[in-house]
Each structure stands twice: as C-alpha cells, then as structure tokens.
Symmetry: D2
Subunit: 342 residues, 4 copies
C-alpha cells in the first residue's frame, strides 16, 4: 500500500500517522523524494482502504498487489517523465537518444564525439570513466579527473552526460559532474549503491542485471525510489543465455512487460544487447517499435581503435544514419498509436 502525503504535513503529524498504521500492524517505510512524501505500508490485506485514505494528512492511497510498491503502475498510472531542463525530458512521449563511447579516453576523442552528437541533434552523451572489467589488468578508466573534463566539455557543447558509478564513495565525488548516474549490469543488485543513489537528486539510469529478471530490476528500482529518489530510468541491455552467436540476448519482451508493470521510463541498449556493430541499428529500431522510451548506443571516432567495446561501436556515419532512422521509426510508432493501431 502506498500513501501519498499532503505536502504541508508536519513532521509530528506524519509521525502520528505512522504510529496509527503500525497499530494496524503495518510495517511502514517513510519516503521523501524530490517530488513528494509517501508512506509504504506493508501488512494486512483486509484493511478497508477508505479508512486509511480518510486519515488526516493522506492525499491518496492505493493497494499495490506487487511486491514492489513505489515503482508499480498499479499505484501510479501516469508515466514518470524526468525533466533535465532546457526542454529535455526523458520518458513517455519522447524518444531519447543517448550515444557516445564506451570509455572516455581523451579530450580529442570527447570533442570529436561531441561535435558529431551536436550535428546529429543528439543531446545526451554516454561515456565511462570508471570501467568495470572482468580482469584486473584491463584498462579501468580515466577516473574522476576524466569525469571533470568530460563534464566541462559537455557543458561547452550543450550536452548532458550519462556515466557509470561503481561504488558508494563515488556518488558524492561524482555528484557535481554528472547529469544522469548510470548503474551498470554488474551492480543492479549492489544494494548499498542503490541506497546511496536514493539519497541524491540526480536521475539514475539502472541497467538490468546480466542475468537479472524483470522482477529483480523493479525491486532494485524500488531501492532507489524508497531511498528518496524517484527519477529512475530502467534499461534493458541483453541477458545471458546459452546462445553464443551474440554477446548477450537482447530481451525486447522486457520492454512492453516493463511498460505495463511500472510508470518509469524504459530504455534499451542494443550495443551491449547484441554486441555486433553492424547489427546494432536494426535492433535499435526494433526496440523503438517494442515501445522503448530511449535508446543508448556506443559510437566513437574510430571504433577499431577504441579502448573497449570497439566491436559493438558505430562510427559517426553509421551513428548519424541511425539517429535519423530512429526518429522516423519513432514517428511511425506515434502515428500508429494515434491511429489506434498499437
């Protein structure tokens, strides 16, 4: 059960409300986000919800049959749209494109990508400075210094940046230099990191775990929301299966399933999802038709020379063509929706 509280509710009044719910044998978690204050109350199913709704300070209340609560569409039907300012919104009603290299490598590389993105009308750039690598001997990113340069340059080009955070201590350090925190597929269930990201006011792009279920992804998002941050984007990026012809198996089933279960925006990363450069564009377009609110892909000046993930990275010509194809595909999806066909 999720209770939205009246914005003017005093701390004392809230405490008294919590106490009443606990008397009714509910386990109560108070949540205060950028947008509002809520109580998540888990417990008896047989309580008359109108009685709860009539308690002083309660704006509205919803029973949620899912195990997760705040991220469920059973509670909040209207899609969450995240406003980054300057008319840049993420979520239903728009198709976001996030592009850039796997790893930030140098100023020259960043500027080349930024010029390409600006020319192509892409406003969000991805790029990692902390790189999770299977082997300790691989390139592990430029770190915080690289991030500061990345952020500074992005501002010059009018771009917003999405970049991966790997551990709790980085959240604070990175805070002033990111627009959107990315949680990678190996950290989807790093619960301490999710807790920490619940406490900051920057959007979080949360990737699905390498072998994470849709249900687990929603639970992980619930960590962030219940921690106090409701600006969350979910991202399908391929799961691990027996198939070895592709790097991962992009699970586009997850897109309409997630859109039904949650009000959060759903993005897709076809670069990791298939892992084969020439097949990234068709999968990106497929993701749009499956209902994705955004596409995240890798592009770099010379993919063959990238420090990581070169085999799944587009060059700028391919990237520019993809951006145009994405826009036309999204336009079709909107028209089909307007015509009542999807």
């Amino acid at each position: 059960m999720v209770l939205t509280l009246e914005p003017t509710l005093s701390a004392d009044a809230q405490e008294s409300l919590v106490a009443q719910l606990r008397e009714l044998r509910f386990k109560v978690t108070p949540v205060r986000t950028q947008r509002a204050a809520y109580l998540v109350a888990l417990g008896p199913k047989d309580v008359d919800i109108r009685r709860i709704g009539a308690l002083p300070g309660v704006l509205d209340v919803h029973q949620v049959s899912d195990d997760y609560q705040l991220v469920s569409r059973k509670w909040r039907v209207r899609p969450t749209v995240i406003d980054l300012g300057d008319d840049l919104r993420l979520g239903e009603g728009t198709l976001s494109v996030v592009a850039g290299p796997c790893s930030i490598e140098s100023e020259a590389q960043m500027e080349a990508v930024m010029q390409h993105l600006v020319q192509s009308g892409v406003r969000l750039m991805r790029g990692g400075v902390f790189k999770p690598r299977s082997s300790p001997y691989s390139f592990r990113g430029l770190g915080l210094d690289g991030l500061r340069d990345f952020y500074r340059l992005a501002r010059q080009y009018g771009l917003r940046i999405v970049t991966e955070v790997m551990q709790v201590s980085q959240v604070e350090e990175m805070l002033d230099y990111v627009d959107v925190f990315q949680v990678g597929a190996r950290n989807t269930q790093n619960f301490n990191l999710l807790d920490a990201l619940g406490q900051v006011d920057k959007p979080v792009l949360l990737k699905r775990g390498v072998s994470g279920t849709v249900e687990e992804l929603l639970h992980s998002a619930e960590y962030i929301f219940s921690g106090g941050n409701e600006h969350i984007i979910l991202c399908e990026r391929g799961i691990r299966t027996f198939e070895t012809a592709s790097r991962n198996t992009l699970d586009l089933n997850a897109v309409p399933i997630l859109k039904e279960k949650t009000h959060l925006p759903v993005f897709v990363d076809p670069s990791h999802g298939i892992g084969i450069r020439e097949h990234v564009p068709p999968l990106a377009l497929a993701a749009v038709m499956a209902g994705a609110d955004g596409i995240l892909y890798e592009t770099a000046p010379v993919p063959e020379r990238a420090a990581s993930d070169g085999q799944q990275t587009l060059d700028f010509a391919e990237s520019a063509r993809l951006v145009e194809a994405l826009q036309r595909t999204y336009l079709l999806r909107r028209q089909l929706a307007e015509d009542g066909l999807v």
Copy 2:
C-alpha cells in the same frame, strides 16, 4: 565446398566427377533439389578451387568456411525466394503474414478465421492438426481428417496453409493437403523428420529449437536442403532462458544474424516468443524492424475459449489492427533501406 552442376550433366558424368573429387580426398554428398543439382564436398582446404571449377560439368564452385554449406550465404549471396504461385512469394522483398489458431478445432472456427484473414488481406493461414503437448492427456489435435477439411476450406477461401508435421510417417499422408510444412520447436533436431522433408517438394517452415542455437538451426536446415528440398524458411520463436515473466525469450538478435549467415527467408513468431496476448503486436512490429521477412502469429474467434495457447492469441479486431500496423512498419523499413539508412 559447394559445386553447382550443369543442368544437362548425365548421371555417368556426375559419377565420374564425384570419383575425381573423392580421389582428391573429398567426402562428397550429391544433392538434387527442385532447382538444381549440387555436390557438397568436404575435405582438404588447400586444393586450388579454380582446378575444381574447371572440371567438366561444374557450373560454379564456392569455398564455404562455415560447417553448414548449402544454406550458407557465403556460397549463395542472393536471397532465396519461395514462389507459392498466384503471385505469392516468401522471402526478401516482401513481408509475409501467417495467421491463424494454434489448433484447428472445427469447421466453424476455421471459417471464421478464414473470413477474417481474407478481409484483412492475409493470404497464409496457420493451424495445427497434430499438436505436440507436454502431457499425454492434453488435446492432441484433430489429425488427418481435420487436415483434409482445413485444406479443402482454405482452397475455397483462396488461402494457403502452414501446418505442423510431427513424424516421418505423416509426411506422405499430409503431402497433398499442405502448402507449407511446419517443423515445431521440439522437432528442430528430429533428424529423421528433416531427412524425410528433404525428399518432398513442399516448402518447410523450420522453427528454432526451444534451446537451439542459431548454428544448430542452420545445421538442421542443411539436413533438409542436402536431402533435396531447398525451399526452407527459418523461424525464430523464442528461446528458453531463466526469465519467467514471459513464456519464452524472443531472440530478435537472431534475425540480423541469420540474415547475414544464410540466404533463406527468416520469419518470426511473436506469439510463442512472448506468450502474452497484449504484448504480441509490439514484438511483431519490432521483428519487422529487426529485418524479418515474415510474421507468424495466433488469432482465433474467441481466444479465451481456444483449445490451446489462448493466452497468447489475438482476437480478430486485434489481428486486423496488427496486419495494418505490420504493413506500415514494413513500408517504413523499405523506405529506410531505399534511403540508405539501414
């Protein structure tokens, strides 16, 4: 190595050619299909291919580095298009739509579906009379009698039918009453069945195994082709993974990968691929953007009362909307291709 033989080559001349290749330590498999005669020669890699090409009776010869040979695009670059007559072609350059119930249940059911398909402009109908079921106590289909009725009615409505064959002895019995044989996901590696289907002149729609790799699917197609039948359609229908939010995990990665590796048409079955009725349409459209040459889905008069698979079956209103959306999506894909964007 695949050798295409001159159409006029005599049996004696072919035998002599085979003998020469065996002397060069090749293992030779002679293949005669509806279209042409070939030799598949496996063995030494260091033979000068021009020398082979110059042998009498050889029209052309290609080295094929894949383990499969006849289905490989390394040998035959031009896509295979299967002509069913009456201007009905399956394969690249068109988008085929195959729709119908999971199981054929009655004349009334069939006629209702047929009227809907004709109205919607769909020319191919699916429907099973032999149903593979996990439990021996489930409905196992109407059998051969049902097939005869199915075929007769389809002819009246001007429809072609696609229906599943489960065992060798059925191939002969069904032959006069099918337009396209379907091999189900549990029989993708039923090699005796594939052998038998290699010996008839009816197209075969070969579904990917529940846990079959792309590579295994191509090998299974090679069985049919090398048996003498080159009219094969491959069909992605979802694979088994750890995810339980959907019935299977539709692997759209397989579409561009297959299109690159083989000249055969590639269809997609989103009904089995996701197994959730309301999510079938977005996945069908996604499949088109991923590059599918055809879409196979389930529709029935009253899905809730279908003898099998009702939870993933569209009603006619949903089906009609999907057909229109598929056509518009395919049109966009063609335009993007013409504009050099995909």
Copy 3:
C-alpha cells in the same frame, strides 16, 4: 487419479467402469501394461475417493496432485525395479553400471569393449548404431546391421545392451535386438516415439532433454507409461546453460528431486554431463552420493580415435578404476542409509 484394476476384470466390466467415471465428468484413459491394468481419471477434485474405490473391479485408487499421474510417487510409493532376468535388476537397491562406446564402429571395437566389461564385472553395454548428429555430413552410425552384430556379440559375452532409437519406424525393426531402448536428449519430447515405445515390452531409458525441465521429463515418461509400458528409467545427462567451460551442466539436483517425485529408477550420464574425459569419474561418484540408481558412461579402446565423443570417453584402465570406485562409493551410501545418516 489412478485406479488399479483387478487383474481378472473383464473387458465389459472395465467398459462399464469407464462409463461410470465419465458420468462423474472424469476424462478417462485406460492403460494396460506388462504388469497391470489402470485407469487414469482426470477431472473433478471434489469427488469422494472412497466412493470410487468401492466401485466393482477397482483394486485401489489414489488421488495424484501432480499433472503427471502414473509416474508419480504420490500414487506408487514403492520404487519400480526392472528385472532383466539372470539376476540383473535396475532400480533402487542396486547400482547399475552401463558402459560402452558412443558409437558402435566395428566387431573388433565391440569385442574389445565387451572383454573389458566382462572383466570389470559390468553387465550392461551402451553403444549407438543410429546417431543423432547436428550436421548431416557427420558419421550417422552403422544402422540396423550394426545393431544385429552388436546384439549377437553381446549375447556371446553375456551382456545386455542399451541403444538409442531415433524414430517410430525403428522401434519394430530394433525390437528383437535390444535389451533396453534409449531415447536421446533431442527426442525427449518426440511424443510419437514415446507413444510407440509405450506399445512394446522392452524397458526404455529416457534421457532428459538438453533444455528440458524435470517436470517435462516426468510428463514424457507418462507418455510411455500411459501407452502401456511401465519399465522406464530416467536419465539426467546435463542441461544447456550459459557456462562454456563444460559441454553441458550436469544437474545433480535433479537426482534427489526425481527420486522424491517418481517411483522410476534414476540414472546419470556424467560423460555427456561434463564432456571432459578426466572429470567424468569424480562426477560419476558424485552422482552416486546424490542418490543415482545407475551410471551410464562412455568407454572405448582408444578414445582419441573414437568416431564420436572421444573427448569424453574413458580408456579401459580409467574405466576399470571407475567401476571399482563406483562400487565402493555405492557401498558407503548404503552404509550411511543403514546407519540412518542419509
């Protein structure tokens, strides 16, 4: 619900019994096996079972909450033991060892293996004459002629043979030359083949599907039992997962789970289960401690030169050591059971 019928029940009396059950809205499947006659009745759960048990001709009756019925331990608590004569029994209370080459290749090969088995005290030999192969160009076995030789030689050496049947038409052809039919992992859901094996009086060793669940394996066994043959052995042989360090992932969890769910014997094939020769013995011993009733493994005179599966085949020295280790391990398991420790 499973009803065991009185052995002396006439056909008329049985028909009348079936009619009464149908009146009670049960779907009834009559089953007659080597051992007894049964009725499987599916339908209403609220019928008083004592009333059914009191019907004339009913020896006993059990409600079975599983979807499968005849193979369930909820109906038959006592383990099924299959008697091959000459004091050779398969099932609980003994540890069966089945060893031999992947493929039967020649008389010399067979005789070498047979001598080794006799010396080691192994009484069951495996070996394939019909080989399911991913590629049509691979060696596909010696066929029926090879089987006749295999059977004749085995008789001379006092051995029983286990060999794979791949299609319905082979069942009849092979019947006089096999002691135990094997159904391979690609045919676990070849329902027509299971039906056909239900109609013969030879035991069937049914392998789990490459990606088959425990539940599906039990359903497939139900096909054979309900067809009329209750001499079935289940065999775990490794499933397909994301792990590539081994050929398959041997699922020893399946052993105690199957032993709990069914009265049928459970064997394990560690050769396919791990696919790495030097690691077959520890997995074989592990299978015994997990509760297996039998072990099936591959051995050949010169594994390196075997026509198939050489990389997972033991030589005779390794095989002899394994047989001794298996016996000592099984002895320990029995002692632990006697001492109430497992």
Copy 4:
C-alpha cells in the same frame, strides 16, 4: 607471466627490475601479499623466459597461458592451504565444514547454533549480519553491532566465523571481527570490493556469481590476489538456469574444473545450490565426491522460523547427521585417492 621475487629484494632493485621489463614492452603489475612479492608481466609471448629468470632479484618465473595469472595452477602447482591457526587449515588435504544460520538474529540463536557446532566437531560458523535482499522492505540484518556479538560469542566457543561483506566501507569496520570475509554471489564482480579485500590480511571466501562463469570467478579471484591478498577460497553455490524445480542449479562440474585450473581451495554451498532442505545432504555428499575442499551449509535451531532461507536450512539433528556423513564420505575419497582410483 608471473615472477616471484627474492624476499630480500630492495625497493630500488625491484623498481629497476620493473623498468627492465617495461623496456621489453611488458605491462607490469607489482604485487605484495602476506606471503611474498610478485610481478605480473603481460605482453610479448616471444621473450626467452630464461633471460627473464636470470634477471637479478627473480626467484622464479612462469609463463601462464591463461588470462588470469596469479590464481592459475599453470604457475603454482601446489595447492594453496590457508592456515587459520589452532591447527585449522582450509584447502586440499582436509575437508572443511562451515555451518550456521543464513542471518544472525539474536544471542540465543547464536548460542544454540554454537553449542550444536561444538558438539558436532564443526569449527567454522557462517552467519550474515549484512544481508543482500532483493526487496528493500525485507530484513537486512543486524549490522555491525550484531557482528561484534557474533565474534565475541564465537571466540567463547572456540569457533571461527565466516560472514558476508557487502561494500567497501564495511571492510575496515568489520576487519577486527571476522575470521573469513565472504563475498556473496551478487558481489562476485563488485570490483571495488574485491580491490578493497586485496588490501587486508584476512581470508576471503568468494562465491561464484549467480550467472557467473568459472572463468569470471577466476578473474575475480585475480583481483583479490593482485591486490595483495592470496588467501582466497572459491565457492560454487548454484547458477541460474531455466530449471525452476530447484532454487538454483548446483554446478558440480565446476569443482573438478576449478581444481584443475587453480591452486585455490574450492568449497561448495549445497544449501543455496538446491534450496530444498531435505535434498541438501545428498548434494553435500556429492560435492565431496566431486572433489570439494569444503562444504558450507545452513543450519538453525528452528528452520521454519528463520528470518531468511528457512526452506533450505537444516535443523540440528539433520546437521549432526550430515557432519558425520560428510566425514565418512571424505574418508572414502581419500582412500580411493590413496588406492589410485581417483
């Protein structure tokens, strides 16, 4: 390539050695652990290794063809044995038993378990105070206070403790109150945590990831070793597959494969591996025959009332029987090894 350095080598001499290797185009990582100092040098394969071995300060040098280096058995053939003092050693040559509750809940619970363990001759106790939970609303453990109590009581009972660390900041906090750090299956690729654990002198029990490969597990161990801590135990605990009859699929194939590839001890956790209480013992015994150096399982006073994992937790009677069965099974394995049978 791994170089073991002379213990007396000065910092200056080591630097000069590193410089020489870099001149030969090696990427060099200096490593100093509890036991020795090493250089990991990656790069050219064509350098004469004798030339490297002859450099001043080099005790020995080995080429390692694996991607991981320090954990590879190709470099260090002798198994790593970890000495906890008081004659308690973990690794080859002994069978370690680690038992205890999933979560530490109270002093009464801890003392009950401890008495049981002491009586059964078990010297290592597991128990979590930081619990990774899918949902933020689940019980998340008693935290640091609980750990201090756990450690204090364990000392009174003469037990060593194994407990999970979830994030970098806990490493320092927990250091004085743990005997062995456990890294859970969701943190196997939490590289920052692995880095941090490389910097402390306490053994680490590293669980395999839920969908982690054997190769990835070894790479993660390499993080810890190359960070400076070579006291690492690997632990197989079941992987995620399509099978839903068990919680996970215990992959005992991994045991002999890991024992071949690495010199580190290999433990098995059958409780998580199968997740069904009554089937934990047979899988534990199977793990011993597969070659495990230790078994980790869950036991609690009243499993039905445990705060987490009750369905896979043994009561004390079951646990006592298992300990005896484990010892007798391990004894057999040693005898078989002495007799040259495994």
